[in-house]
């Protein structure tokens, strides 16, 4: 008690100290609560006047062992959400944009077959962004790689640079399937946006992943790879995954299991 005495003597007569303790407590509480508040904000969408945060890195886990042969639900959902014409309905299939496609792989030696969706891999070091002359190709702070519809000049250098053939040029005038929150345009290059309009709305998921879950396959999982508590981070810790063309060291936002 004798140790405490000077303190109790001091405390009432030291408003400065009290203010400091108060401020420190508030700061500590703030620091403790802030990430939670941030998460709630992320989950509830991002106000338009706030930039995307690098605290988040959106990513996708593709479990190729669960990806069903012949199932095209992710592709259909993407086309519906983002308003691009499915290739089967296009008059010019070779020129039709495809933001996501089902890839069938076969090992010629073992005959082992693998199914997986291929989409923009949202590289941390995207070659498309490197080569874009106008800076129209860019990576958001939260890892989503996008094309600025207003500054893309349609040079297609990004399509030459992408190792995943993830990008398409809009070759012809667009019909009325366009969506108001997914700007597209003739002569511009486009690709998977990780459904950025849904992410910014706070859906926390992409159309393809939602469709895959709805079909009961659960092969696609979307989430924040920076958040150690997120479902995707947890699964990525447990499952062995690979990056496509890992030799390029591009640090991909899409990770595959079972390839």
């Amino acid at each position: 008690m004798s140790d405490m005495k000077p303190m109790s003597d001091n405390t009432p007569s030291s408003p400065e100290r009290r203010r400091f303790v108060g401020a420190a407590t508030a700061t500590a509480a703030g620091l403790a609560i802030a990430p939670g508040v941030m998460l709630i904000e992320v989950a509830h969408g991002r106000p338009e006047d706030q930039p995307a945060s690098s605290a988040v890195r959106w990513g996708m886990l593709v479990d190729a062992t669960k990806c069903a042969t012949g199932c095209n639900d992710c592709v259909t959902a993407c086309s519906t959400e983002n308003g691009w014409t499915p290739v089967a309905e296009s008059k010019h299939p070779k020129q039709a944009p495809q933001w996501i496609r089902k890839l069938e792989l076969q090992d010629p030696l073992t005959q082992m077959e693998t199914n997986l969706p291929m989409l923009c891999q949202h590289c941390a070091e995207p070659p498309c962004v490197d080569v874009c002359p106008t800076g129209a190709s860019f990576k958001r702070a939260d890892g989503i790689v996008l094309v600025n519809r207003h500054t893309c000049i349609g040079c297609r250098y990004c399509m030459m640079a992408c190792p995943y053939k993830a990008r398409s040029l809009v070759h012809e005038s667009l019909n009325d399937t366009q969506k108001p929150d997914v700007p597209r345009g003739i002569g511009c290059v486009e690709a998977c946006t990780f459904c950025v309009q849904k992410v910014d709305r706070g859906d926390g998921n992409t159309a393809c992943a939602e469709a895959c879950t709805a079909a009961g396959h659960n092969a696609l999982l979307f989430g924040d790879m920076n958040d150690p508590e997120s479902e995707i981070s947890r699964r990525l810790r447990e499952l062995p995954t690979k990056q496509v063309r890992a030799d390029l060291n591009l640090n991909l936002g899409v990770r595959y299991h079972g390839i």
């Binding site: 290739v87 089967a88 010019h92 299939p93 070779k94 020129q95 039709a96 944009p97 495809q98 496609r101 089902k102 890839l103 069938e104 792989l105 076969q106 090992d107 010629p108 693998t114 291929m118 070659p127 962004v129 490197d130 080569v131 874009c132 002359p133 106008t134 800076g135 129209a136 500054t151 893309c152 000049i153 349609g154 040079c155 297609r156 250098y157 399509m159 030459m160 640079a161 992408c162 190792p163 995943y164 053939k165 990008r167 398409s168 040029l169 809009v170 070759h171 012809e172 005038s173 003739i186 002569g187 511009c188 290059v189 496509v244 063309r245 390029l248 390839i259």
Partner: protein, 400 residues
Amino acid sequence: MASITFREVEGSSPKYWALFGFLGLFVLFGALAWNYMHHHGHVVTGMDNQIVWGLPHVFAVFLIVAASGALNVASIASVFNKPMYKPLAPLSAILSLALMLGGLLVLVLDLGRSDRLIVAMTNFNFKSMFTWNVFLYSGFFALVGVYLWTMLDRSVKSYSKAAGTAAFIWRLVLTTGTGSLFGFLVARELYGTGLLAPMFIIMSFAYGLAIYLMVLAAAYAWTGRPLGDAVMMRLKTLLAVFVAAVLYFVVVHHMTNLYFTKFHAVEAFILRDGGIFTTLFWVGQILVGGVIPLVILLTGLGRSRTWIMIACALIVLGGLAQMYVTIIGAQAYPLDMFPGLIEKSSFFDGEVHGYSPSMPEIFLGLGGIAIALLVTTFAIKVLRLLPASLDDATVAKLEH
């Protein structure tokens, strides 16, 4: 050193205007082709999401590469102090400007949004080789323009060597940039090598000089001015050296790839199984563009003006074939995302991509060539670019 008289071509004969009109017609066709492509989008071309750069790029890159090469004759004159080449320099400079203009026009008119050219001039990403090229091309016009001015205006003649040296260094950097457009691409197996930069430089020497010789000979033949053999023999030997050097680089490129197992499939595609690309490589690039011109230029045939012209034309055709193989062949071979596995998809993964150029693409490309020649034809009429005589006696005097 003896002085030499430069004189404009009269350019009033029906033959001149017929040539002017003929070239103008192709410029018009090119403009119409652009209008058609721009109005409908790239859907009316042979290009698609597999072959994203088509015939316009073949013409554009060829012209840009040839443009820097066409400047060589001027460089030899002022940078390397060879008086014999001095009278040849002004044509060399104007031809390089004209070819560059033609190439750039084709390049920008093939953009998906050619109406947004101003965006490319105002928004820059300095990690992009394309952005660097925007500056390299603009700088080329400025430097070669100044260089040409120092050749034509006696009051600034003393700056000619400095301007010529600057233009020479700039053109080397420029072609390095052009080669690096492909050299800096990581995705495709036939690109992604620093070798492409020096290879493009040596190709530019050959293509540019071949075009220069044809334009020079045509200009003198059609205006009735004397052009002696001394000039032609000297330049044709130089051309043979350049063509041989191109072949050397091509051999080194493919031999290196053939050593690496991971490139065996793509090399087999270009060298053996690639159909049109294999034919264009062996027959177009190697035989027509390399071996036959070498035989012509280095044997007795090379003493004939006609045969030299044939060799030059073959080098140009071979150059176009080379660009076709380099640009379209590399895209035709599918991306190898999963080495060792067979890939199949609705997006044509795992299959060789076909390409048939459409009429508008052909005419856009030809329009680029036409505008380069039209500018040159007009320039020699209004500027004193061509010596009145290049007969052997006149040229011999320059050497002393």
